[in-house]
Symmetry: C2
DNA sequence: ACTTAATAGTCCATAATGTGGACTTTGGAG
DNA sequence: CTCCAAAGTCCACATTATGGACTATTAAGT
C-alpha cells in the first residue's frame, strides 16, 4: 500500500488518519476537484474504501460531489468549522500589513505560508503592480513542504531528522508540484540553510523564481514564512539581496507582534 | 447510547460520523474549549473512544489540547482546510453590504446565518451604533437549529417531516442554548410560519429579542437567513414591522445577487 | 451504431480495527 | 493527608470497516 497517510503509530485511529488524508487530498486539488481514482492514488486507499469514505463525508457536509462530472470537492461544513477555528489561527490580520509593504515595494507577489504536517499552506497573498503577475499558489493552497519558496524556508528550519522524514514522506508526490526528486529537494534545503534564505529556482514553471524567509521558530507557535515570487530576471543581484533584507525585516516585525499578543 | 451522531444509516462509516460529531461539538464550544467529559456527554461516546479519537485528531492538527487545563479545541488544520473551501462557500462578500445597511439603519446587531445539518452557523455579524450591544453568537458559532432568530427562520422553511426530524434530534441539547423544550420550539416554528418571519423571544438571555428572515430557498444553494437582535423594548411595534420589512428587502437583494453568479 | 476502454459504484465473506468495561493516574479541594 | 472527580490506559472481544471480485455507467474510437 503506497501510504500517503502519516506513518506514525495510528493506534486505534486508522480511520481518522485516512479521513484526514482524504480531506487534505481534496484541499490540495480544490480548483478542479478530484475523481474517485485520483483520491485512490493520492491516498493509497482501495476503491470501495475511498468511495464509502467520500459518501460519508458528503453526508456530513465535509465533501461534495459535482453531479455532472462526478468530481469530489471540499464541502461547506469544512468552511464553517474553519470559521470557528479562525479566531485562534487566522494570522492574516497580523501579517497583512507586511504583505502589503512587500508587494508594494517589490511590485511582485508576496505570500504568507505556514507549515501543516508534511505540507505547507498558503494563508494569504498580495499582488504587486508589475504587469506580469506570478500567482503560483491560491489562498488555502497546499503544497508538499519545500516545493514553494515560503515552503522551502520552513523546510530549512527543521532539524536533519525531521527534514529527512518530510522529504521521504513527500518523495512520491514531489513531481506533481515541482521539477524535483528527493535529492534535488535535499540540495535546495541545504543551500537555503547556508544562504540564510530559501531560493526556489527549480523551474516547475520555467522563468520564475521565489525567495522565502521564515520567522525565527517560537515554541507553541506554528512555523510561518514570508516569500516573494517573480520573474527570474527580476530577482537577480543586487535586487535579490534587497528583497531578502526586506523579507527579513518584515519577518522580524511580525515576530515582534507575536511577542505581545498570545498565539496558540 | 444517547446518540448525538446522525441517525441515518452510517453504513461502513461509523467512524467518520463520530469524527464529524466530535468536530462539531468542539466548534460549538470554541470559546472555553471542552473537557474530555464534555465531549463524552455531547457525543455519547465512551471515555476511551472519545480520548483516542481526540488524540488522533490532535496528531492530524484538527484538534488541540491546552496543556494546562486539558481542554480540547479545534486545531489549525481545520482553519487551513476551511481556507481551501472558502472560495466556494464564503458568501460574506456578497452579504456584507446588506449586513452593513441593517446594522446602520437599526443601530442594532445584524447576523448572517446558514443551515449546517441539524445546526445553524453564524457566518458574519455587524454591530450597530446603539450603546447597548447584543452579541449572542460569535462568527463561526454553532447552535441547534431554531435557538436563534436566523436559525429559527431557517427551521420555519423546512417541511413538516424534516422540521420534526431536526427538533427530535436536538431535543436533548436545546436547554443548553435556549429556554425551550421540543414543544416550545415547535410552537415558535409554527408562529414563524404564520407571521412570515421568525420571532425569537424565548428569553434564554432575558430582555432580548431577535427577528429573522430567510432567503427564498433555492435548489443547490444552502439555506441562508438574515436577522437583527436587540433589546426587546427596541423591537416592539411599529419598529418591528419596519425592521422585518428591511430584512425582507435585503434578503431579496441577496437572492438577486445569487441569481447572477453561481453558488454551489 | 457497435465495440472497447476507463471510471464509478456495489456486494459480502472475512479479519482487522476500534470498542468499552474495568483499572490506574493525576490534580485539586477540604 | 485524604478524598473525590476527572483524565488517561489496558486488553479480550465483536462490531466495523475492509478489499477482492463483480456490475453499471460513461467516454472514446472506428
Amino acid at each position: 500500500m503506497m501510504d500517503t497517510v502519516k506513518s506514525d503509530a495510528p493506534s486505534g485511529a486508522q480511520s481518522i488518519h485516512r479521513t484526514a488524508a482524504v480531506l487534505r487530498a481534496l484541499a490540495a486539488h480544490a480548483g478542479p476537484g478530484m475523481r474517485l481514482s485520483d483520491v485512490m492514488t493520492m491516498t493509497g486507499l482501495q476503491r470501495p474504501t475511498a468511495h464509502r469514505m467520500l459518501q460519508a463525508l458528503i453526508l456530513e457536509g465535509l465533501a461534495r460531489q459535482d453531479a455532472e462530472t462526478k468530481r469530489y470537492r471540499l464541502g461547506p461544513a469544512l468552511f464553517e468549522l474553519g470559521l470557528a477555528a479562525a479566531p485562534r489561527f487566522d494570522i492574516r490580520g497580523i501579517c497583512g500589513p507586511s504583505l502589503d509593504r512587500l508587494a508594494a515595494a517589490t511590485e511582485d507577489t508576496a505570500f504568507l505560508t505556514v507549515r501543516s504536517g508534511y505540507d505547507s499552506v498558503c494563508l494569504d497573498r498580495r499582488e504587486g503592480s508589475y504587469p506580469i503577475r506570478v500567482l503560483t499558489v491560491e489562498i488555502g493552497g497546499r503544497r508538499p513542504l519545500g516545493t514553494t519558496a515560503g515552503s522551502l524556508a520552513l523546510l530549512c528550519d527543521l532539524d536533519a531528522r525531521e527534514c529527512e522524514e518530510v522529504i521521504a514522506f513527500n518523495a512520491a508526490r514531489l513531481t506533481e508540484y515541482a521539477r524535483l526528486k528527493a535529492d534535488g529537494l535535499r540540495a535546495l534545503a541545504e543551500r537555503g540553510r547556508t544562504l540564510g534564505y530559501a531560493l526556489n529556482d527549480n523551474d516547475f514553471t520555467p522563468g520564475i523564481t521565489g525567495l522565502g524567509v521564515s520567522l525565527p521558530p517560537a515554541p507553541g507557535r506554528q512555523p510561518i514564512a514570508l516569500s516573494v515570487v517573480a520573474l527570474s530576471g527580476r530577482l537577480a543581484e543586487p535586487r535579490r539581496s534587497k528583497i531578502v533584507a526586506m523579507l527579513k525585516t518584515e519577518a522580524r516585525k511580525i515576530a515582534a507582534e507575536f511577542g505581545g499578543g498570545a498565539t496558540p
